[in-house]
Amino acid sequence: VSTGGTTDEPTPRRPDRGRAIEAIAWISFGLVLLVAAWRMPRLEAQHIAPWSAPGLLPGVVGALMALAGIVLFFTRDEAAAPAADAAADADVARGAPDARTAPTDPPVGAGRDGGSAIVVALVLCVGYAAAGVGHGIPFAIASALFIVAFVAWFRWPVWRVAGGRGVVRGLAAASAIGIGVAFAFAWLFESVFLVRLP
């Protein structure tokens, strides 16, 4: 079974600055690990066998990471797109259809996607988890606000297509989902799983 999409034919060298940066990052991280492991206590005063020193495996891991980083730096990039998803690439190499090119919904009414969507999702998720949870706001309320905000932001283009009435109906549905899910989870975890919520 082939596990990759490589052939014997030479492929043109693809300059990839990102790959070089990755390699340097791995080499640096590996070297930092190696130094940190070397500087760990070796417990000689306690007559501990030097082979059982706590820094042994982290040191080996750091060295291997740095070595792999060097190989990565000098390896020709066989992947077509540097940012491609590895699993999808591997599946395509084995003969599966590329899920990334599967039919997509038309842009109108399809919600938001792309880089800005990732940033907004990241901000909303981190804002909720890092600031909303465990800082005085009851968990159920923080969760309900998060779900409503998330759904509203991403479904807004879909609702807007249906006009003012669509927006009102969408907001009402998002609120119902947010409040329902948040309070149901809070009840489930506190009353059934006996977990003290943040």
Partner: protein
């Protein structure tokens, strides 16, 4: 005879009303998780581990195995209807499943997937019951040297097969091993990489890290992608047919064997089992020209292979403490949380637990058969729910999952950090499964390496001269050499012609 007694006790325990309810509910949740592209079996098992901490061990493992089996089975629905694998294990099912659906036979394809999944899983359960005691007995002779290599082979294999570039997979495995070393060193209780922080003394929690890697990272990935539309909206009869089992019995048997074998290999996982079974079926099938155009043989091979590898992956997890796949790694961690100690001594100290797992896997198989016979159409509605609604709900569950194990905000922060890092690494083509294997096996690798060196007084020879070590070291060397272009060309000249598989 003892084995049958233990199995009888296990099945009697699992026949209680609560246990049946748990099994059905968890399998349904697993199927829904599998249906949703991006939500993986690993995430499902990790999330449910946090929910079941307070349950009795057998009930908790019952729920987790049902989620695992249900997710792998449920992913075939998405593969058939959307041409997108619900989980990585279902990628091979896209090839013929979606073609059958496009020919107006989506229901038939789902029936075939049910047939293959149930047959593969049952075959795997038999192997689990038969081989685990023997492997455990053989593993009693294993020492630190063998366990070091088993751990390394698991991480290396996972890195080799799960991504497009093995080097990136290995780097992720090493990163996982490094993360596993954070906290108190398991031999001398010496703090490592804790920077004086008390929260880091206990190490990075496996479950929060996995919830981040498979949950938060997936949410960010999913929100950045365009929404996929269903290629097929109508469904014909979904009932599995006995005639298919009889007609494709050799495919089922071959794929079951391959699935179990691949499952047993440390760190390889269900997706490779499905691809290997599919490739083997294509090579010998009388209808090989139909493969990729809607072959029943191809679909049944893929689904039998991936489901047979689930019990297969549990065999080394129980007998050696080395999981066969990423979800099995999380399941093994859950077993440890619930007081079981997977490894060679498990058959000696807790033989009943091994047969409980056998019985549980059997119950999970029956549950997917039940959901394959009924509830197919109602379950499909979840595919119509926009991801903009599902993803925030999943994220709330991720936060709860990270929090509920130890009820520390530190674990929520761990989930966020690991998730964000894994999101960036995934965008750069780094697979996450080797990270899981590294995280779970890091402790074994650490302890085995140091114990082995202490026993041999720093001599590396036993790591390369003991019989099992020779085999495992050779396997590692082959995996390394296969990535060197000159060695690969040399190997391919002596192997089958390109495209033969």
């Amino acid at each position: 005879m003892d084995g049958l007694n233990h199995l009888g006790i296990a099945l009697a325990t699992l026949a209680g009303p609560w246990q049946i309810l748990y099994a059905l509910g968890a399998t349904l949740c697993g199927i829904l998780i599998g249906l949703l592209p991006g939500l993986s079996a690993t995430l499902g098992v990790a999330l449910f581990t946090t929910l079941t901490v307070n349950l009795p061990p057998t009930d908790a493992i019952l729920i987790l195995v049902c989620v695992y089996v249900g997710a792998i089975y449920g992913g075939s629905r998405t593969a058939i209807l959307l041409n997108i694998p619900g989980t990585a294990a279902n990628a091979a099912a896209c090839l013929d499943g979606n073609q059958l659906a496009r020919q107006g036979r989506a229901g038939r394809a789902m029936g075939i997937a049910t047939t293959g999944s149930v047959a593969g899983s049952l075959f795997g359960v038999v192997c689990l019951a038969m081989f685990t005691p023997y492997l455990s007995e053989a593993a009693l002779a294993f020492g630190a040297y063998e366990f070091f290599w088993l751990g390394m082979v698991g991480v290396m294999m996972s890195g080799t097969v799960t991504g497009s570039t093995p080097l990136k997979g290995w780097l992720m495995g090493l990163l996982g091993i490094f993360i596993a070393t954070i906290g108190l060193d398991p031999i001398h209780a010496q703090p490592r990489f804790t920077f004086g922080e008390n929260a880091l003394t206990g190490g990075i929690g496996l479950i929060p890290a996995l919830v981040g890697a498979f949950g938060f990272a997936e949410i960010l990935t999913a929100m950045g992608e365009p929404r996929r539309s269903a290629a097929v909206s109508t469904v014909d009869s979904v009932l599995p047919r006995i005639a298919d089992v009889l007609r494709y019995r050799w495919t089922i048997l071959r794929s079951g064997l391959l699935g179990v074998f691949i499952g047993i290999l440390p760190g390889v996982g269900e997706d490779m089992a499905a691809w290997t079974s599919y490739a083997a079926a294509r090579r010998v099938s009388p209808e090989r020209e139909q493969f990729g155009k809607g072959s029943v043989d191809g679909l049944i091979a893929a689904e039998t292979g991936d489901n047979a590898s689930i019990p297969g992956a549990l065999i080394p997890a129980l007998a050696l403490g080395i999981p066969g796949s990423a979800p099995a790694a999380v399941l093994m961690s859950a077993m440890i949380i619930h007081g079981a100690q997977p490894g060679p001594m498990l058959m000696v100290t807790q033989p009943q637990f091994v047969y409980d797992v056998v019985g549980i896997t059997l119950v999970a198989t029956l549950a997917i058969l039940l959901f394959g016979l009924v509830l197919v159409r109602p379950i499909l509605w979840v595919l119509r729910v926009p991801r903009e609604i599902i993803m925030p709900v999943v994220f709330v569950l991720c936060v709860l999952g990270a929090w509920s194990i130890a009820q520390r905000l530190f674990d929520v922060v761990t989930m966020l950090v690991v998730g964000a890092v894994c999101f960036v690494l995934r965008r750069r083509g780094y697979p996450v499964a080797p990270l899981v294997l590294g995280l779970v096996l890091g402790d074994i690798v650490d302890k085995s390496l140091r114990r082995g060196l202490v026993l041999s007084d720093g001599d590396l020879t036993p790591f390369f001269t003991r019989p099992i070590c020779v085999l495992l070291a050779f396997l590692t060397l082959v995996m390394l050499l296969a990535q060197i272009p000159a060695a690969r060309r040399w190997l391919s000249r002596r192997g089958p012609a390109p495209g033969a598989s």
